[in-house]
Amino acid sequence: MMKAFASKLVDLTQKNAEKIAWQWAKDVKTNLKTNSYHDAPEEKIINQASEFYKNFQEMFFHEAPFQLAEDVFTKYAHERYAEGVPLHETVYAMILMRRHIWLYAEFQTIFSAEVEHRKAVESLSRTILMFDYIVYIISREYWKLIKMELSKKEGKH
């Protein structure tokens, strides 16, 4: 059921991963709430997003999306933490990542017909659920990393 409703959005995202990633990168590089991304190499951040958009389908239809998100985004959080990106900026970059999926879909008017608004609600709800998990996992990992860094230093002393 879910598959039928949401496949349109997921297909579009996967097929146009590069384009959406490029739009996201353009946004994140100028957005006032994501300062740490402004000087980052464009290619690097485009890759970050396009990888995610390409894997979006798997996560979207996975039976246990939280577990899958945990595998992928634990690493993602560790990388951003190591790069020194503050948590609120990482979270906002993720919010923009989600927004750009939707913006692209709207721009392409994939949910134009009346009957398709129902699909839109379903797709949107599912997309939000995925990103809710992601934000939770990233913030939890940052918390763990800060605590780990502190105890490591305490151990040294």
């Binding site: 609120h88 919010i95 009346e114 934000v135 913030s139 940052y142 002393h157």
Partner: protein, 279 residues
Amino acid sequence: MQAYAAKLINLIESKAENIAKQWAADVMKHNRTPSYHSLSKDLVVEQGVNFYRLFRQMSLAEVPYEEAKSFSWKYAEEFYQQKIPLHEALYALILMRRHLWLYAEFQGTFVTALEKQQAVESLNRTILMFDYVSYQVTEKYQQLTMEGVNKKLGIVKTFLMGKLIGGMKNTYKLAFMAVLLIAAGILTYYNHTAGKVVVFTHLFYIPIILAAVWWGKKGMLVPILLAIILIASHSLFLKDAPFTDDVIRAVMFIIMGGVVGWLMDSVKKLEELYEPFKL
């Protein structure tokens, strides 16, 4: 207010308490929000009610991002004071949004095709608000954490006399210490050659404490030097007087310098520990 969002916003406002109760029941047993499990139910429900009621205010604002600030900051402060970890606070917010939507769905707020279109718009609007709140809560929470660290570091700095003589360059410290040691030597010589037994050695604790504060355990060299000066002077000029008192004083210099030096090293380590989290 945009017409499309009015329906949902009115529902939220009129049923704030019902939605908040459902949210509280969820958040107080959810495995991703364990810190909420031990909170009082009334407190959690109140948090939810306040949030849902203020939601209208935020939705009506011309610049919702700015309107959201006062609201988000208050929540971040509450979460921080209650020692709820940030990821749990964020997940509680996520659940707040989810319950709002679940309630609207359960009430069959959006049934017809036109209403479905309104649902998409309302959903987008709601998400935008929550995105702002999530960002602001995260930012504020981190700011509060850092302020807490800075406050603690402030105490450490005061202890290290950072703003006073502790801020001096090491060359000046060494020069100042040399002056104090020479003065201590002259004082010892004067008192011992004059055969005076006044307890002038209490003044020696000034260079001993300063050396411990500045150089930690390395500053032990100063009490050792002062102990040598005292004992040497005694053996040269007070041959007939018993040694016991000055030996006890010399030992006390070393013990005092050692204890304060060890304490100051620990304080400095603490400062280093929190250094990366400074603003």
